[in-house]
Amino acid sequence: MGTLIGVLPGIGPSAGIAILLPLTTMIPPTSGIIMMAAIYYGAMYGGSTTAIVVNIPGEASSVPTCIDGYEMAKQGRAGAALGISAISSFVAGTLGLVGLTFFAPLLANVALAFGPPEYFALMFMGLSLVISLSGRALLKGLIAMSLGLLASLIGQNPLTGAARLTFGWVDLMAGVSFISVIIGLFAISEVMINVEEAATLIYETKIKGWMPTWKEIRQCFGAMLRSSGIGFFLGLLPGCAPAVTTFIAYDVEKRVSKTPERFGKGAIEGVAAPEGANNATSSGGFVPLFAFGLPTGPALAVLLGGLMMYGLQPGPMLFQQNPKFVWAVIASMYIGNVILLVLNLPLVGFWARIALIPFPVLGPIIILCSIIGAYSIRFLLFDVWVTLVFGVIGYLMRKLGFPMAPMVLATVLAPMLEVSLQQSLLLSLGSPFIFFNRPIAAFFMALAFLSIIRGIWIQVRSHAPEVAIDESDD
């Protein structure tokens, strides 16, 4: 169920848990919580399916998977991409669970060391990934990032409530949902491109093999380990969205690779890394949830609601007062991880065959799922109109060679960036040096500036026209 929910564009883990929550009331509480947890990490995996097969991310964290996953699919290797996604999710998810099992109390204290300056520095470092995501089109990537920041600023200021960039429209006061942005940029524009070309199939390449080879699995082993670590440790942090960890994992993999030029053209590690990070993040998120009752994101906030609905109070005493429940949930996650692999590997062929559905039928179905996903965000038609507008914007961006990943990244990061910046400046009485005299924050800021300087240097030396190579339709 979680995988099916994650497959639908726009209906991510948090909406999925909220939608399926009533079903869990029909079973005993422990089983209900186990079911919700399974839906959560199932949905985290499910978002990769449409990202790989039809270039439509199920949620923000699947956007990096689109970059190389869809390229692999166009080369006839959707099965291999889906297979490595399942394997990487299993490996990283299991390693994350080991971390949760043995190190939960210790690691919870790490999460407490993060205050607003550390969060701002982390988000700023996340934004510096735009450099890497832009490929050869750095200036266009920065413009896309600006447009993403702009979209996220529309609405009310999060701390003062002042209206910004609403131009008197009441509908805009609620802001623009980043889910609408993602669905529009990817799903709607992808369908428009195929409609324009009168495509009979999403891609014409013959399918070559349904699974990754052993050599490819070994090749991705390092990526799985690295993404496990990145996803798990960043997943510990309240507010650090899975989208951030997947982008960082992708970027790290590209940097450590001996052949980084393959990324963006169907590098299998480019699928393994974000998918591993995705599932490791979901394991890491349970650490502060169980230890402090602190949800690290919307999906876990819904899970927290579910826990309280059953009379369980997450926090320091949960392990003492309800040990059977806690260990039952953790044990179920190990089993759930195995089931995820056992169920989804045989389904790889099924999902890959989605691309064989004639486009005249598949296209409207994709649009329908997108509209359902967009409407389900807040049950406002406004969100659906926004999706349509961003669909047109996404189409124009593809034609003009603007990369879309930076825009998505900026839209996701901007709210957290602004709130943490505001809180940090309050703490420091307006001094910006707070980001440099705290060791963790200074570390992330240094990484960010190094990334920016390196990216600008590479771009200045290049004299080619600005074209986003990671979203070529060739």
Binding site: I143, E196, L388, Y395, L400, P465
Partner: protein, 154 residues
């Protein structure tokens, strides 16, 4: 605007104009300027970033004299297909509340499939009807999502 260079110049100018609009809009945001981070601070910053980015793109493209690329804009038929599909989608959204999600889903899916491929009339009707049924029974009845029922409510 077939060449990448010309497209970038036009896009850059448009984006710079957008940045200017944002800066003007930001100047009208109310809030206490004595705050650590006034509400208009980030809109100003992003507005200037957008203006500078757009102007930079336009200028860099104007100066570029190397090999140019061609943008694959749609031909007349392709543009018509896109326009009709966008119109169908807009109608879909506009009619969600009056007709209800199940009915408008069935109509949209059937119409869109038939328009893209005129030979698939049976597939269009069956897929349209099936989509409407799935939306009604799966999303509205089973998952109890608050989708508008429209005509089905009466």
């Amino acid at each position: 605007m077939r060449s990448q260079r010309r497209g970038d110049i036009v896009a850059g100018c448009f984006i710079a104009l957008l940045g200017a609009v944002v800066i003007i809009a930001a100047s009208r945001i109310s809030g206490d300027p004595e705050e650590r981070l006034p509400p208009r601070a980030l809109p100003y910053a992003v507005g200037f970033m957008t203006l500078a980015g757009g102007a930079g793109l336009a200028f860099r493209s104007w100066r570029y004299r190397g090999q140019d690329l061609v943008i694959k804009w749609p031909d007349r038929d392709g543009a018509l297909r896109i326009a009709v599909n966008l119109l169908l989608l807009a109608l879909f959204i506009a009619l969600i509340e009056p007709l209800g999600m199940p009915i408008v889903t069935a109509l949209y899916v059937a119409a869109a499939i038939w328009y893209i491929d005129r030979k698939r009339i049976v597939a269009a009707l069956l897929t349209g009807a099936g989509s409407g049924v799935v939306v009604y029974y799966l999303f509205i009845k089973l998952l109890e999502l608050q989708f508008p029922l429209g005509l089905l409510q009466r």
